[in-house]
């Protein structure tokens, strides 16, 4: 069987897991990771992923593996120009770490208020220079108190109201009850599990751990692309959200594209 040459364009959230699976895979793989947080700004975030896809030389790779879930429609309208894209059918990256959408949905049913932690979720914050042990990375790095956004708020509303604005950004965690560490053997030597325990203690969340499952990522990297698990986007097609059990689908590339006019942080 021919060895495939594959290009991966993925979110850094899955850096360790994809690297682990790629190291054990029989195919020849080039890896490229983009900063975590693009889903916070889906229009321009999607454009960044598209730019990386478009920078891949035509005819060189058998496929471009896009390491993103639907992630709030981040990957909607991603286009295959000359090389097929292969994308896991996933609502978001948690599916990558727990092995299947079915398992993820089961976990969500059990604890709708659970916040899932993986190595990437903790380490991408550290790569940005944020304090280790923060309960979540700043949203796309946008609201730290040294950020341009915060400084603009200070200029517009004064420091007190700017601080109030930062505080309201944390309200979305109000109904969370559990912090769940997705565990892999290869992370045993890291301090990450203890960091999650300490975050849970700080947030008054129940700490839980569940075994991780790399099987979906392994099949993706091995070229074992069962259409029920992976969407293949042929050249001339683009991704669309399916809003059904298949999660994502394709259509011919639409001629008119709406430019990004504004994005929430």
């Amino acid at each position: 069987m021919k060895q495939l040459l594959l290009k991966v364009v993925a979110c850094e959230i899955a850096f360790r897991e994809i690297c682990r699976a790629a190291a054990q895979c029989r195919q020849l793989i080039d890896l490229e990771f983009l900063s975590q947080g693009l889903h916070d700004v889906p229009c321009s975030g999607g454009a960044k992923i598209q730019a990386q896809i478009d920078a891949v030389p035509a005819g060189r790779y058998d496929a471009i593996l896009v390491g993103y879930g639907l992630c709030g429609n981040l990957i909607s309208k991603l286009k295959a120009r000359h090389t097929p894209l292969v994308i896991p059918r996933a609502h978001d990256c948690i599916t990558f770490f727990v092995g299947s959408t079915q398992r993820y949905l089961g976990l969500m049913d059990r604890h709708p208020g659970a916040y899932y932690y993986t190595s990437g979720w903790l380490e991408c914050a550290q790569r940005r220079g944020e304090t280790p042990g923060n309960f979540l990375p700043a949203r796309a790095g946008a609201i730290g108190q040294n950020s341009a956004t915060f400084q603009n708020w200070v200029k517009k509303y004064g420091e007190e109201r700017a601080r109030a604005l930062v505080e309201v950004m944390q309200r979305w965690t109000e109904n969370y009850t559990h912090g769940v560490w997705i565990d892999f053997d290869f992370l045993k030597s890291t301090p990450l599990r203890d960091q999650v325990k300490s975050i849970c203690a700080h947030q008054s969340w129940v700490f839980e751990e569940i075994p991780g499952d790399l099987s979906l990522l392994q099949r993706w990297l091995e070229g074992d692309w069962d259409p029920q698990l992976f969407l293949t986007v042929q050249p001339g097609e683009e991704v669309v959200p399916a809003h059904d059990g298949t999660i994502i689908s394709t259509r011919p590339i639409a001629p008119a594209q709406t430019p990004c006019t504004k994005e929430n942080i």
């Binding site: 879930g69 709030g72 609502h91 709708p112 509303y157 109201r161 309201v168 959200p241 809003h243 504004k262």
Partner: protein, 221 residues
């Protein structure tokens, strides 16, 4: 300061996210001006401008949330002054809640004051609302509109089950159902049995006004 200037300043205090100033101006306005006017031409006008600024990208969700806090601070002061007949101010009733399986509250917390400021009487059922709770609230409050908040990609799919529960209870034909959240899609919402969907509270107001007009037309012989 005349009434019009006072109401303009109240609206401006909401836009400036200055809750202390909102409270001060609302107290002053309520001494002289009808509470329904204070809500409609002061507080709600401020929220309307915030909505326009949100649409053009001048402000983002955090500012909208703080503006909502300011709006509510004024509303809480105005409400005790409202008499029963003042409730005519409402253009319609809606029941809203985050769909089952979804515990996120921020989107709904932004939408509710926007809907109230636009004249909807809103019954907020909270987060992760079971389908039978929606049914019970519809029977109790007889809303024209049900709002389903879905803030995660998978939970939008729960729309079908909630709509089915409303259908089974024989209540579907008397109301309209709109989905809201960052990942919703109007065509998909319709395929799941709802009437519309939007990711923007101010767009939702326009859509809901259209829904009210359609329901009213249906009732006119």
């Amino acid at each position: 300061m005349n009434d019009s200037e006072l109401l303009s300043q109240l609206a401006q205090a909401v836009i400036s996210l200055d809750q202390a100033r909102v409270e001060q101006l609302a107290a002053e306005a309520l001494r002289w001006i009808h509470p329904a006017q204070v809500i409609a031409h002061g507080l709600s006008r401020g929220m309307q401008t915030i909505g326009e600024q949100f649409k053009t990208g001048e402000v983002f969700i955090p500012e909208v949330m703080v503006a909502c806090d300011c709006y509510y601070a004024g509303l809480q002061m105005a409400k005790p002054h409202l008499k029963q007949q003042d409730k005519d101010w409402f253009i319609g009733t809606m029941v809203i809640g985050t769909i089952h399986g979804d515990i996120h509250t921020v989107g709904k917390d932004v939408a509710v004051p926007v809907f109230e400021a636009a004249g909807f009487q809103v019954v907020d059922l909270g987060v992760a609302v079971p389908d039978d709770r929606f049914v019970q609230a519809i029977r109790e409050h007889q809303p024209q509109i049900v709002g389903l908040g879905t803030y995660m990609t998978p939970t939008f799919m729960h729309t079908r089950e909630t709509v089915e529960a409303i259908k089974r209870a024989g209540l579907r034909d008397q109301l309209k159902i709109i989905c809201g959240g960052p990942s919703v899609n109007a065509d998909a919402a319709r395929r799941m049995g709802a009437d519309d969907a939007t990711d923007n509270a101010w767009d939702a107001v326009e859509k809901m006004k259209g829904m009210l007009a359609e329901l009213n037309q249906r009732q006119t012989p």
